[in-house]
Amino acid sequence: EAAVTQSPRNKVAVTGGKVTLSCNQTNNHNNMYWYRQDTGHGLRLIHYSYGAGSTEKGDIPDGYKASRPSQENFSLILELATPSQTSVYFCASGRQGSTEQFFGPGTRLTVL
C-alpha cells in the first residue's frame, strides 16, 4: 500500500482561485516536503516541515503557503492561483536526521 499519497491527482483551477493540495504519509516520518517539477528542470523545493505544527520556506516559496496539522498530513495552499503555478507538484516524506526521501505520485495542476 502506497505510503505517500497525494490528492487530487489532477486539478484545473482558474486564475485568482484558491487551491489546496493535500499529502498524506503513513511512514511516520517527521520531515515532509513540497516540490514542483517543470519540464526541463529538476524538482524545486517550495516548503518543508520538520514535524506537526512546523513549516519552513524552501527555495521558491512565493505564492505558496503550507500547513502541517499532523504528523501524517502536509498541505500546500495557493491562495491566489496564477498560470505560472501550472506544474506538477510532488510531496515527499523523510526520516528525521536523514536526507532520503520517499515521494508521492504527484499532482498535475493547471491554472487557466
Binding site: 520531515n31 517539477q37 529538476g42 524538482l43 518543508y48 524552501g58 536523514s98 536526507t99 505520485p105
Partner: protein, 109 residues
C-alpha cells in the same frame, strides 16, 4: 548556492545496450539519491547513497563525495527503463535536496 549539473540531458539507447548518467556537484555533498520518473509521472526511488556504490539488477550507482560526482550505470537497457532520471544531493546539512535537471532516456527496440 549548491549546484547539481546532470548529464546528458537526453539519451537514446538501443535495447540491450548500456550507458552512464552523471551528476557533478559544485560543492561537497553528503548524500545523493537517484530517481526515475516513469510514463505515469511517478517518481521511483532507485538508490540512496552516502558513499560508495550500490547495485540493483541492471542498475549500479556510485557516489564520490570528495571528487564531487555521482553516476548511474544502466546495462542491458529495456524498453521499460525509458523515463526521466533525476539525481538529488544534500549539500548544506539541513536535509534538503538540490536536484539535477534530469536526463530523458529513451530506449528503442
Amino acid at each position: 548556492g549548491d549546484q547539481v549539473e546532470q548529464s546528458p540531458s537526453a539519451l537514446s539507447l538501443h535495447e540491450g545496450t548500456g550507458s552512464a548518467l552523471r551528476c557533478n556537484f559544485t560543492t561537497t555533498m553528503r548524500a545523493v539519491q537517484w530517481f526515475r520518473k516513469n510514463s505515469r509521472g511517478s517518481l521511483i526511488n532507485l538508490f540512496y547513497l552516502a558513499s560508495g556504490t550500490k547495485e540493483n539488477g541492471r542498475l549500479k550507482s556510485a557516489f564520490d563525495s570528495k571528487e564531487r560526482y555521482s553516476t548511474l550505470h544502466i546495462r542491458d537497457a529495456q524498453l521499460e527503463d525509458s523515463g526521466t532520471y533525476f539525481c538529488a544531493a544534500e549539500g548544506t546539512g539541513n536535509y534538503k535536496y538540490v536536484f539535477g535537471a534530469g536526463t530523458r532516456l529513451k530506449v528503442i527496440a
